[in-house]
Symmetry: C2
Subunit: 440 residues, 2 copies
């Protein structure tokens, strides 16, 4: 299968013109630039073709809160989110996740990391298959046509030294060993990878973090954790352990280049050194961090210290990785008074290869021979991008494009989105029906 791209981003600070891509067995096998006209039979992709976008941090079910999220603080908001979590079962969760992953596909997202902690039935009673919820999420991603990394989440306590609330019992495997026992039953596939997550230092004690980290080391799997999203988490952690959350994670052996710190909003100097020194990934979720009044993390300093950058739409107040990408830079400008900490190239890397790497998809995220043929074409036929030139296109897309500008999405050579519409799902209808169902 051959594609002729009006423009394609092959890395670097600008886009290439007239690029011919050849895909065989789901991978790029050749790539030529400045191909004056398309060869017969090649699919023409007008606009700018990018590597598939990676959404490195998702809680799919939070999408049902869009427009309904109340509460003056993060903690109040969490109560509303828990009320939603209590309503879900494998059927309703699977239907909702299918629709949400469909919305992601329409936004050009070809791989998602689902930070998945809603494991068990009411009052924590396991389903007959203890991974029934995980399976529902995996089927959802497959149905929507995108790759999935299940970041299967260990969640054991309601706070440092605090018991689980009734809804939190659904998240818990009792012990880290119980978590290992369950996740060892999960099978992966060519489009579904398994990774680990520690919910946070609030929900997992240091010994249990070490158990999860050891499992991830053994499996050479990604390991993610929410880190220092709110000042109250830092205060409780320092109070109990005399260490910051990052220090606790470091001492438990969690920090490595396979580790992703989600949010990392309120860090100490030492935290920045630790995460940078480990070449860990930072997952910024700016539209959620805005929504939840978290604050602005120091992404520029973390990257300078050696950390890699990735992006997540997290609570899905918005599902638009262009919006997340520019928000990393724009929100830092608001608090530093300086422009340009993150280049358009760096932000596009975060949205593509940075996120794919964080999810363990090392063979995706670049348009290059041998890589998985996951790619996305952004149309230039909108008022948002009108007036761009070859030199300014990358910057225009990062700063001004919308998920609504995504025209074509291909995952492993398969066409998932064509002319801005999902090939197999009526996503708007699925969203409306599945969200109505959980609130009815």
């Amino acid at each position: 299968m051959k594609y002729w791209c009006e423009y394609a981003w092959l890395g670097g600070a600008s886009v290439a013109r007239s690029v011919e891509l050849e895909v065989v067995d789901g991978r790029f096998v050749s790539l030529r630039t400045d191909v004056a006209s398309e060869s017969s039979g090649s699919t023409v992709l007008p606009g700018v073709t990018l590597p598939g976008l990676a959404n490195a941090h998702s809680h799919a079910f939070h999408r049902a809160l869009r427009g309904r999220a109340r509460g003056d603080t993060f903690w109040d908001w969490r109560d509303g989110m828990y009320a939603l979590a209590e309503r879900l079962d494998p059927d309703s969760y699977g239907t909702l996740a299918t629709a949400v992953f469909g919305e992601m596909a329409l936004a050009g997202i070809t791989a998602v990391g689902e930070f998945h902690y809603l494991h068990h039935g009411p009052r924590g009673v396991p389903y007959d298959d203890p991974n029934e919820m995980t399976r529902a999420v995996a089927v959802a991603a497959t149905t929507a046509g995108i790759r999935l990394t299940v970041l299967d989440t260990c969640y054991l306590a309601g706070g440092i030294g605090e018991p689980l609330s009734p809804v939190q019992q659904r998240f818990s495997d009792g012990t880290a060993e119980g978590w290992v026992e369950r996740v060892d039953l999960i099978a992966s596939s060519p489009s579904v990878k398994l990774g680990a997550a520690v919910h946070s230092v609030r929900a997992v004690d240091p010994d249990s973090i070490a158990t999860v980290a050891k499992w991830a080391d053994h499996q050479i799997a990604p390991l993610h954790a929410h880190v220092s999203e709110q000042p109250a988490e830092n205060a409780a952690c320092i109070d109990r352990y005399g260490k910051t959350p990052t220090e606790v994670l470091g001492q438990a052996g969690a920090l490595s280049e396979r580790f992703t710190a989600v949010h990392a909003t309120h860090l100490s100097e030492r935290d920045i050194e630790l995460l940078g020194g480990a070449a860990a990934t930072l997952c910024m979720c700016p539209t959620t961090e805005r929504d939840l009044a978290d604050g602005v993390g120091e992404a520029h300093r973390l990257v300078t210290a050696g950390a890699k950058l990735s992006l997540g739409s997290d609570s899905h107040a918005v599902i638009d990785l262009f919006e997340e990408a520019r928000a990393v830079e724009l929100d830092e400008r608001l608090v530093t008074g300086t422009r340009g900490g993150h280049s358009a190239e760096a932000l596009m890397n975060a949205a593509t290869s940075g996120g794919q790497r964080a999810l363990g998809w090392h063979e995706a995220g670049r348009i290059a021979v041998g890589q998985l043929a996951d790619f996305v074409t952004v149309g230039l036929d909108s008022v948002r991008l009108a007036g761009s030139t070859q030199d300014s296109l990358l910057s225009s897309i990062v700063m001004s494009a919308s998920a609504a500008d995504v025209r074509t999405v291909v995952v492993g050579g398969d066409l998932i989105v064509d002319a801005g519409a999902h090939k197999s799902l009526d996503v708007e209808r699925e969203l409306a029906m599945s969200i109505a169902a959980v609130w009815d």
Copy 2:
């Protein structure tokens, strides 16, 4: 002409269902809710119908900088913007402004305040008609089908006590009296109003501010000014006058309920009291304030003190008043750590009646009998808004809608945008051609 709206926002915290609007001679003459089915011949508007949006602060020509804006600071950015300003003449300015106002129409903007300071030819030589540039802007708005308030801007100095640079000479009428003499020649029309602007305390001395303010009082016209966008402006002002910019404006007689402070990012306690006490309008331009690393203004405190809120897309890095509206709230969350300072209702008021009021269109901005029939319908057939209910729709639109969701725009009873497309302009093409022309 009758319209049947699936939902319409008639003010308040939620939307009404099944609303029939009747328009005669460009105004609403009747309004009925819960009209079960449309009467024969009425136009059906699926989605949510809102009052026309008002863009209270625009520099149309900045649109040509989208994706091309460089510089580490506001001041470096300004150099690039001046380089653009130098290239413009009435023809190229008019063509570009037509396209930009067309982009605004597509985003549901039915009235724009053009903060217009590029008055004269190279080296400040007036055109044969000294208001030729203003006329080009007025023709542009009329061609695009939207209402315009020309905020004709007085600009006399390159900084406090500093001479004009060559490009700034194009902005200047020499004296405030020269400004009055020129603007008194400008005719208004049913769709074009005339207002005044003081560029800033950097560019206009206190005596000249008083002259402009007096003109605006006499004309009962809106008066706008850039206020405290950057800390350096405050420092220079206090250094020279021993007063903040707001205090200087207050002493010159500029503050009233017809005054709009644009940005007002870095205010003192006393400034907040002055603006609130005058019931002045605050015009927040959050996507520009992010882009230019201005900081986060204290909109919530200003509103609490008595100021009204309006919105502007300013430099047009983005033209999307829904994005501006939510950013007021979301950016404040980032710096305060608290959610919900501005309700969805308050933010929608800012995007509609607040902005219309700031531009002197007191008969627009509400769907009510007697008001101008300026209205906008947002489609619910996108993934962004799927899953909303009548109760959550207003919040969903403010927090999640995109300008791309605007389907229908009516100004004074005339259909300007239908099915998401401009009725008389190929806006994408006009943008591409006019922007290419200014950079060629």
